[in-house]
Amino acid sequence: MDLVTLPAAVLEQTVPILLAALAAMITLRANILNVAVEGMMLVAAFTAIAVGDVTGNALYAFAAALVAACLVSQILAVITLRFGADFIVAGLGINILASGSILFLLERVYNSPGGLRPITFPDIWHLPAGALSFVPVLGPMLEGQSFIALLAILAIPASFVFLYRTPTGANLRATGEDEAAARSAGIRTDRMKALALLLSGVLAGLAGAQLAMDRLHFFLPEMSAGRGFIGLAATLFGAGTPWMTAAASLMFGFFGAVGDRLQAFALPSQFVLMLPYLAAVVGLTFARWRASTKGRPAAITETKV
């Protein structure tokens, strides 16, 4: 196994999952199980390639991806908050709408339902090789990563500060903990939920942009390949807290990257490909078990009061 390139590969696999996980985490704190991250990622990835193709400008493509994902998140907000649809049903609907409308555009506008692959596509900024060579381990891990990957790392403390150190973050959490109490305290809970979805859109947009723009420079239908749902699992595993969610994402990224490298050792591919999902099942079981052991005494005191 190549131990020199492993940390970088782990980080690269972690980034889309981490962003998806943070996207799901923000809404989870407002008591929304966001299953639409996958669809938002796809829309962002497609928009990034489509806009980059037309403008030839990586920053426009990047910005458009974020805007598109935010728009999708606000469609979800309108359906659920304004018209009272169930979050999971509406979220799954958004996923179907996203992949369906992308396919429609691919066929009608680009005449190529198989995907969108511009001949040339602007590259985004990557940390140049050698820029951090004086830092052991972390230096080579970060070199060559896209600016989106660096933003993803910064998003962990940023979401922590937002949730725990700002009034808006506190209101958002209050909305998630007990909506009726929050409303009676004067918090506009629907606005908080819409804000949570908007932030989720930004993060999912980053995830989709990273997927399409980092290396591949093309769009394929279903190219997110379940990363939005793995991210959701990481959030649940991390119990909705930023650091634990990041750690869970890192674990999935680690198992993914190690699994890829284990294939060189003639292990059955099915077993190796199973590793990240096995980790997800074990992780979620552990998270539930921990929540139930922790939750019980609190529930008892609550009933007594």
Binding site: A9, E107, S112, G114, H217, L220, D260, A264, S269
Partner: protein
């Protein structure tokens, strides 16, 4: 050298003759055919290749209808197949992937109607099954890959370490057929060539394909064979970014990364359809049997990127092709064990 050159000449003359031979222009009046699809045109691969075969037949006077259908609407596929079967006005009905169960239900009800079923197999007296020998095409891909990985002088991006890789979508029988042919080709061209086999676990996850290809290259592979459908674009991109070689699949992918993609392995769906229509017209189509299109009858082939494949390697690939086509070399198949 001269022998291989003259063989090449003979081969290319034969190919030219095949393409130019005047086709019975006086075909029966109003020969009509229909293709019941489970997908849409415009995929730059399988379906478009099929359509091209139908168009060639159309130019020669056949009436052709292509019934497209949404890939997510299986009921429509069945309805279309039943409708054209009941109509009874088509000399032959073509259908392809995903249609096995539908055809198995419909074909016995219309014993007088003739069907051609391609890329799959159904044993019915009125059905001609057509399959493609991807193992033979992959044999040529393996030959070329091994040559490139061992010959640093002719292939400047190579390290000469005799290591190649297959990055494949999923571990399915048809994919194993690709892999077996590739391995055999590599071993026969340059004995001792090491072939890494890596699975993505998906045909859509291009990012994972990219990462796995990079892993294969960092493990020393000089040439990576794409057997991953749509996700394969990630394989080609990774090979280009790492400045190594790749071999494409399904459609001609040579111009996607002209400095890195050595060749593409194609199933010539169009050729086989055109041939089948000709056979049905002339009444020689062997209904009730399975016909395999391989190197011998141009059902599969390796399209070389002449700008980066030198003539010496091309000659060796042609030699391998001739060996398989003549039957002196038998390529192992994942389906042979049945």
């Amino acid at each position: 050298m001269t022998t291989s050159l003259s063989r090449r000449l003979v081969l290319s003359l034969a190919a030219a003759g095949l393409a130019l031979s005047p086709i019975a222009a006086s075909a029966q009046e109003e020969f009509s055919t229909v293709y019941v699809m489970s997908d849409n045109l415009g995929d730059h691969g399988f379906n478009d290749s099929a359509a091209e075969g139908f168009n060639r037949a159309k130019e020669e006077g056949a009436k052709v209808r292509l019934l497209q259908a949404s890939p997510s609407d299986p009921q429509l596929w069945r309805q279309n197949l039943e409708a054209v079967s009941n109509a009874g006005t088509y000399n032959v009905i073509f259908t392809g992937p995903n249609m096995h169960d539908n055809l198995a239900a419909v074909a016995p009800q219309h014993p007088e109607q003739k069907y051609v079923f391609f890329d799959d197999e159904l044993a019915q007296p009125n059905v001609l099954s057509v399959k493609y020998a991807q193992n033979e095409g992959s044999y040529l891909a393996g030959t070329l890959a091994a040559l490139a990985a061992s010959d640093k002088a002719s292939f400047p991006l190579s390290s000469g370490a005799k290591k190649v890789a297959v990055v494949a979508g999923m571990d399915l029988p048809i994919i194993q057929d690709f892999i077996m042919g590739f391995k055999q080709g590599a071993e026969s061209a340059v004995p001792g060539t090491e072939v890494q086999v890596i699975f993505i676990g998906s045909f859509n996850d291009a990012q994972k394909a990219y990462d796995l290809t990079r892993t294969a290259i960092s493990n020393g592979a000089d040439v990576v064979y794409n057997v991953a459908g749509p996700a394969g674009l990630g394989i080609l991109k990774a090979a280009a970014d790492q400045n190594k070689y790749a071999i494409g699949v399904d459609s001609n992918q040579n111009d996607l990364h002209p400095k890195n993609v050595l060749a593409s392995m194609l199933k010539q769906i169009g050729n086989s359809i055109y041939d089948s229509i000709k056979q049905v017209k002339s009444g020689t189509a062997p209904f009730g049997t399975l016909v395999i299109y391989g190197l011998k009858n141009d059902g599969v082939g390796l399209v070389l990127n002449d700008a980066i494949v030198p003539a010496s390697a091309k000659a060796k690939v042609d030699e391998a092709r001739a060996g398989v086509a003549s039957g002196s070399v038998t390529v192992a198949s994942a389906f042979a064990a049945k």
